[in-house]
Symmetry: C2
Subunit: 651 residues, 2 copies
Amino acid sequence: MPQCHDTDLKQVTLTAPFWRNYQALVREVVVPYQWDALNDRVADAEPSHAIANFRIAAGRADSQFHGMIFQDSDVAKWLEAVAYVLSLQRDPALEQAADAVIELIAAAQQPDGYLNTYFTLVAPAERWSNLAECHELYCAGHLFEAGVAYFQATGKRALLEVCCRFADHIDATFGAAPEKLHGYPGHPEVELALLRLHEATGNARYLALAGYFVAQRGAQPHWYDEEYEKRGRTAYWDDHGKGWMVHDKAYSQAHLPVCAQPHATGHAVRFVYLMTGVAHLARLQGDAELRQACLRLWDDMVQRQMYVTGGIGAQGWGESLTSAYDLPNDTAYAESCASIGLMMFAKRMLQMEGEARFADVMERALYNTVLAGMSLDGKAFFYVNPLETVPRAMAASHAHDHVKPVRQRWFGCACCPPNIARVLASLGRYLYTDREDALYVDLYAGGETAFERDGACFTLSQRTDYPWDGRVEIAIVADRPFTTTLALRLPDWCVGPTLSLDGAPLAFDARRGYAAVAREWQPGQRLVLELPMPVRRVSSHALLRQTAGKVAVQRGPLVYCVEQVDNGSELHHLALPRAAEFSLLPGEGVLAGMTLIEVDGQRRLGHADADTLYRYDAADPQWQPQRLRFVPYFAWSNRGEGEMRVWVDAL
Amino acid sequence: MPQCHDTDLKQVTLTAPFWRNYQALVREVVVPYQWDALNDRVADAEPSHAIANFRIAAGRADSQFHGMIFQDSDVAKWLEAVAYVLSLQRDPALEQAADAVIELIAAAQQPDGYLNTYFTLVAPAERWSNLAECHELYCAGHLFEAGVAYFQATGKRALLEVCCRFADHIDATFGAAPEKLHGYPGHPEVELALLRLHEATGNARYLALAGYFVAQRGAQPHWYDEEYEKRGRTAYWDDHGKGWMVHDKAYSQAHLPVCAQPHATGHAVRFVYLMTGVAHLARLQGDAELRQACLRLWDDMVQRQMYVTGGIGAQGWGESLTSAYDLPNDTAYAESCASIGLMMFAKRMLQMEGEARFADVMERALYNTVLAGMSLDGKAFFYVNPLETVPRAMAASHAHDHVKPVRQRWFGCACCPPNIARVLASLGRYLYTDREDALYVDLYAGGETAFERDGACFTLSQRTDYPWDGRVEIAIVADRPFTTTLALRLPDWCVGPTLSLDGAPLAFDARRGYAAVAREWQPGQRLVLELPMPVRRVSSHALLRQTAGKVAVQRGPLVYCVEQVDNGSELHHLALPRAAEFSLLPGEGVLAGMTLIEVDGQRRLGHADADTLYRYDAADPQWQPQRLRFVPYFAWSNRGEGEMRVWVDAL
């Protein structure tokens, strides 16, 4: 299997407005707001207590632990986001704040390397006694990701060293040896993080430990049962019944060994976090069986259980996947974090497989669900990303308790906002896959990225107005010629892409979804990829009943939706005639800079008599022509509360 | 307001096969099975413990209380059903069993009249301390209904006397006097039962007590809060959070005084049980304000929140109503008991108003949801009555946890089976409304019913094959002529009804939905009402998004559905062309005797590639002609597990 190097995040600079604006929002709005939130300084939000917990654990304050059992991870995700922000642009004040947090974290670390404020403060005797439910390894993983990112961004080793001491402690605690614990995390994350720590430090024990956690998962007798009995059948969570998280092992993807799991199942975030680690491990260890599991579970996820917006997790119960071809639009969960995890999984599959289909899905998740997770002003977030909302019906329907019609500023379980921040700030990690067989361009985004081939440094300089326009210009910036295969992704939504080099058409092999060009490249050469971007109608598999007879609208990577503010209420009566021609128009106000879509559609006129819910033998329905306006799904709910719908009736 | 007498259940004898068969099932299958269940003699069901609890409370067994806090009510509902069965046909063995149960109940009654096995055995000090949650008055109400019915059926007073002692105890405990408790039931039922007890005994205190409970409901300071504080904030139920039933007062329709409630809301069964009592009270007391509340809340229920099957309660959470125009088909609750309660509410509205629209809804609930609640062999029951099921999707989707694709034999919370038994056995109570202004025929069913006018006894003898045929023959059986207005209901689904008397067309006034004929009737006269019964397409209000563009099929009072066994799977692709002609055919096998419907429809052919969930710019959908078969909704799921759907796409 080809060897690949993680793209160095410091060498990616995004210059095109689309992503530059998002990254500026993260830097200027999201990270500062979250810093205030972590420090309990946001007046209209529940206090987070996350920094306070560390202060108490470090012996610098005298109070009690508050917050979720995984509250520490919010600090880690903030630090990781800060690392990416600093990698994009220096900011001494921010770096100073981060350094102070890191010093605080180090002070909270126990002499044996253990680090978790909940267990240190609340239940020191219960460390590692409830892996199924208690998120210790999950928090560890987020800390490791922060430590790696902060080291790569700043060169500072303090947090990395905290992480290594903690990882060494975990390594001394878990493993196959009889005296060690034979458990593994209820919420995967530490696996993918140990592999990043391994790559950053070169320490092979972290690779082995990740391998142990993956191999041990689902083994019999089951660890969750063993520790449950050992601690006297106590349970931490009881939302769905005492010990449900222990007993419903598929929720944690621990019902079977990973290689034996037939379907994508359980808590969606857990699933993709686990598989991100598994795919990374499969590549690093050249494990064919793990690779097959990755391919099988990926396919089950994207071919049976993924929303057209790249969301996964069809139900609020357990924030989890359901079954094949069951994707309700209005009660969807489609958690922002799950689509972020899906991007991470996709990235690891790209590194292993070099196939564009993984990038197609990564792009779908990024441009739709992940972006929809944050408001255009960076100040509010969706945890849940439905494909249909009817606010008037949501208040009284508890089936919609998890669905909000407008974004919220912060959450008691605040996983999504910092997760969105870190993925947007580190977007450069997702653009290219640098493999031995080729340098793959997976996503198109204006910016500069440096690479190395045979000792020669060169930069690919992308210029594009993507996702609004499909023209991508890639300039070769180098001191001297170099030879490599450049593989430019041909998106699945694109028909008839063309490539030219310095103005002359360039033939290419379409190879696993890429236009692959192998040649000696000259400094100053200019590749132009034209990706025609017509508006396309999307239809769904016959077994998917929730979208039967309906159509979604997509242009480039963007899925569109209709909103009440543009189209009136009762969006369920809008219909899109099959032959209607789309036209493009520029967005205005908060949608300025976006390309909107209009089309001559129809509105079904049903009866509206207040005293008759049902009518017999109604006349054929009357249709009224209506100009329909579609806006990018990621931009919905930025103009007040109202109905929204992705799938409209096809007429 | 006109005064009305409750129809004496003993004088109604149903002879036509449709109802006779159902009543035979209740007598021969349901009541014996439930007797075994109550006595824990059903091998494959959880023990009920209901009779055992009474034995322990009576000091005849030494064990512990088991079951729901309202387990006693299962015994009461069984006794009430037995009473109706005995009123239809003598059965000494059954009567002996019932007498023994009544003797046992009497033995369990406390010296002060109190009667409830849970509190007597588990928490004797906590009587009446948690009305919001603990169902003591609910159980009392069911006992009163049983006592009244058993007295009316058999003339035996033992249970009625137990009830009166208990009612007197309640009357001594609750009321406006400062030393009394100012509470009222969390689950309404005792109000409607006290009014039946009042009518059976003539005791005005029971009327006054029902009036107190209704008037006190929702008063401030709120009783639920007062008792909650008094008992130290303990809660009995915690499914949705500690004390949720105390705090979510709309769940129990206790958020506001009844007269101030704007919408039908909360637990659906509670709502209709409450309103049954309120409508009865409004009539008996001539209370204009209560009557307006009944009319308003009735309209909100049937014009905004009722399924086409007569089901109410759109969500599993709290088995409750949601909001206007929100009726999901696949996650519907539409509890069998709620539609039974809706029939009870409708009956009281008929007595008060004499308007056919209440009977239209009563009939809709009876012939669709209530009948669907029981299998054709009387051996299994639906608690929840969805309008769409896809079994393959239900196992993994917790939004469908409450929905079963096939009927169950018994339930831990076994309210529905005995409720269905008692309503079917007492169906005669719902056929006629005998008011001073007219004798109203509300439902058509072959049978004999005796009435009295000016001292003259006469019998109306209905002959009809309803609901399969709309011809209804009513013979006047009397010794001598009598004068009255006969008001024959003109169902809302019927266009062009005609009436004849002894073969000659008879003119009639259509008055509030009835064909009213005022005359002197001669013995032997024969009225024939012809209700044309074409198959009708039903469409829904424009605001009801879940049925937009869809159509349901109804013939007479019966709503039909498509099932997988007749039409193949993926019912979401079936479409009914607007002009297609329906044809009728006889059912076979378990559907023998039923009228089925066929029509030339279409099936949408979507793509079915396993590796593609979404497709771009798919060709116009192909349609394949398919003969569609519709079966009565009440008969669904009697031929194995499969998809079912009431609303199909209109083409």
